[in-house]
Symmetry: C2
């Protein structure tokens, strides 16, 4: 059977990685898919650069002992005409790897309008414009596959959308941004502050020159929003996510957390209750004995809890050319296998049938339930602890653990660390307002959330 | 749309769990699958017992606040006519949960012959008769789904067969038997010997009255054989697997391993090299810092290495009524979504197209490559260490770490523990034959394999 033809928008890290993996493993992929998958056309801003990169891939491969299947030597057309690619009648599948939300949206919608299936790694695009894109794809009867958009090569979208369909999924908690996990690992291992660890990450290629999307939690929130929709059968609601990054995280809190038996991870957490859905990204204390607390460096891991299966966890590389390409190519194989199937019987884009989404609201952060880590700077004098404990107790908040540090000679102040049991955040905030008004409390309370999963 | 009709063979742990999950989550499952899934008929040896169990499930559910969808109140026909069920024209999918290999084979083949899709949790059946069953299913154009056969609720078959299709998979290493992992955790935590830990596991319901299949590694080998076939595109070759269980594992080796920074796990390992495929189940030393070394109790975890994605890991409950049901029902949803698709375009049963299997041989155990842990009982006298090290060096085997225990007063003998670097097992065995012939070596060498993954 003739190869299925893909067109590649962009030839950067993900685009180049996809081409390279498809070419290197073409025989094995064909043995699985029953049909070859060929990149027939590439659109990029500077074709000469892409041509050079592509030649390097082909040369490297020919140098290795890879047997080239007959015909696989034919090279794709490379030009800068993105619009022509998405309209090209010879192209069955468009692979979008240009990133961003505006031009990518135009091109993906145009590809759909021309009856192409789409594979994308673009979480920002889907978190912001996903509902529009999936609606268009549904109307046109084409697939938009996006395994690579969440957690790189880990097949977490497939697990949620197909592997756990028996379950009422209750929560997901994931380390879904490698940059921040690398920085947090460095801060803990080497006792660094955030700025130093970030500079290290940039030097080593784990963080971009402008790291804002990563370190402020926006990238993780994009991914979390997609998982939340798929897990709970609700629309994609990125604008409702509560997002806190790690740039304000104090090294001292990592140290105190460790003393209490916890590690701090930037978790994306989404949980369903009768009241609504929690959708939040923030630094989180996790017991160090848990598997997810031991995910270090740039690795990703997603824990999913379902009522039948209990907790399952998925671990692997969340970024990089080849891990991301692994997910892109898996989607290409899925599309190749399924493109002749009746569109109504394919797995729905968002796991649930499009007319079956729930309107369960996303809860504002003051309505979520969590346990908390509080660090207070207090006067080293009698009665302080009693006053604080009493204000917490007034609102029904019980204390799980507590450390009071010895004050340094002559300072007259000390750090008090409190771990609370679970409570509604608004309730805790009210207690904190009263606690911060105490004359013995010397600065605003540092608050972090704790999850025992 | 009318519900798809399933017939259930057996109503024990897995059958009952499947019915219970399908019923409890029927609305959510329907929102995903686009169509209800109904167990319309059940065949069991003692219908009265199944009737009572079913009534208990229905009553319990009605007691909870589960809203029953209209029509879901209709109860399945229960009788003891297995043969009639697999022929019943009203049944679209047969769910086999009776276990065993003979009667199960007959019934599954009969169901296929009558054009039914089959979902099964029966790893023994597929490890032994899988090639025949998948061939029959392929000829008839029906699906045989078996996610529940490996690692319970963890969607590892889907990950291997669909999620990692971009990759040349290089190896899999899994904790795929909860009973043995529970026993090993108990032995390490509490310093118990095997017999005591097994008795505890039996008392707590983690081991069966006859634990042979679990503790001798047969169950793990069934599962490993299936994963190996899917990962590498080779036939199912259970009879070629090398199988060692944990019943002969000495508590002292767990202790020494720990002192060297390792934990002992019963791993199923399959690895592909140019020479062939390794397919082996045995107690294995794994560095304690690795995630898979920290999988404790009855939990399962499977690590998979692919050339593009790197190492990914999948963790969860590998047994029990509801985790297994989670996988069975996921398969039911897949079949419901895909049963109208062109059979030639569905995911192949064994991941690769049936005419595209490789004949790469399974390597005999003396041709595998591994690092080793050796415990020797030696005379406490000068020159012993030099003699042993020299016999290893003669065969090019280098020593990674070594502990010599102080001998107890007056005993004149001591334990010598050697960790080797990687070598071919046959080579090591030849060195060991010479070492065991030394007069200063007092008993046969205890040998375990070490994997740094």
């Amino acid at each position: 059977m003739e190869s299925i033809k893909a067109g590649l928008l962009g030839f950067g890290t993900v685009g180049g990685g996809t081409y390279s993996v498809l070419r290197r493993n073409q025989e094995e992929i064909k043995r699985r898919a029953g049909r070859g998958i060929e990149v027939a056309r590439i659109a990029v801003r500077t074709p000469a650069k892409a041509q050079a990169a592509l030649s390097a891939i082909v040369t490297q491969e020919a140098g290795a002992e890879t047997a080239l299947a007959a015909g696989a030597g034919s090279l794709p057309l490379i030009d800068s005409d993105f619009d022509a690619l998405v309209r090209d009648p010879a192209i069955d599948i468009v692979i979008e790897t240009i990133g961003g939300t505006d031009r990518a949206r135009e091109l993906v919608l145009a590809a759909i309008a021309h009856g192409k299936h789409v594979v994308t790694a673009n979480k920002a695009l889907l978190a912001v414009h996903g509902m529009e894109i999936f609606q268009a794809a549904h109307s046109k009867g084409v697939m938009v596959a996006f395994e690579a958009a969440v957690a790189g090569g880990i097949p977490i979208i497939k697990a949620l959308r197909e592997g756990l369909t028996a379950n009422r999924i209750t929560w997901i908690a994931g380390i879904i941004n490698g940059t921040t996990n690398f920085i947090l690992s460095e801060m803990r291992d080497k006792g660094l502050d955030f700025a130093t660890a970030l500079a290290d990450a940039q030097r080593l290629g784990y963080a971009e020159a402008d790291p804002t999307f990563d370190v402020e939690g926006v990238d993780a929130a994009h991914k979390l929003t997609l998982m939340s929709a798929i897990a709970f059968g609700v629309p994609i609601q990125f604008d409702r996510a509560h997002i806190e990054g790690i740039s304000k995280l104090d090294a001292i809190d990592i140290k105190y957390a460790e003393q209490l038996g916890y590690r701090i991870k930037l978790l994306g957490i989404t949980r369903r209750s009768a009241k609504g859905i929690e959708l939040r990204v923030h630094p989180t204390l996790v017991p160090s004995s848990m598997l997810i607390a031991n995910v270090e460096g740039a690795m990703n891991a997603v824990a999913v809890n379902g009522d039948a299966v209990g907790m399952t966890l998925y671990y692997g590389k969340g970024a990089g050319a080849e891990p991301t390409a692994s997910a892109v190519v898996a989607d290409l194989v899925d599309v190749t296998r399924l493109h002749t199937a009746d569109p109504e019987h394919r797995t729905p884009h968002l796991a649930f049938q499009p007319d079956q989404l729930s309107d369960l609201p996303v809860l504002p952060i003051d309505q979520i339930t969590s346990a908390y880590y509080l660090r207070l700077r207090v006067a080293d004098e009698p009665g302080v602890l009693a006053a604080i404990a009493s204000l917490l107790a007034d609102r029904g908040i019980s204390v799980d653990a507590l450390i009071q540090k010895e004050s340094r000679e002559g300072e007259g102040e000390t750090d008090l660390i409190v771990l609370t049991h679970g409570t509604v955040e608004g309730n805790l905030r009210q207690a904190l307002a009263k606690i911060e008004a105490l004359s013995s409390v010397k600065s605003p309370v540092s608050l972090l959330r704790t999850e025992n999963l």
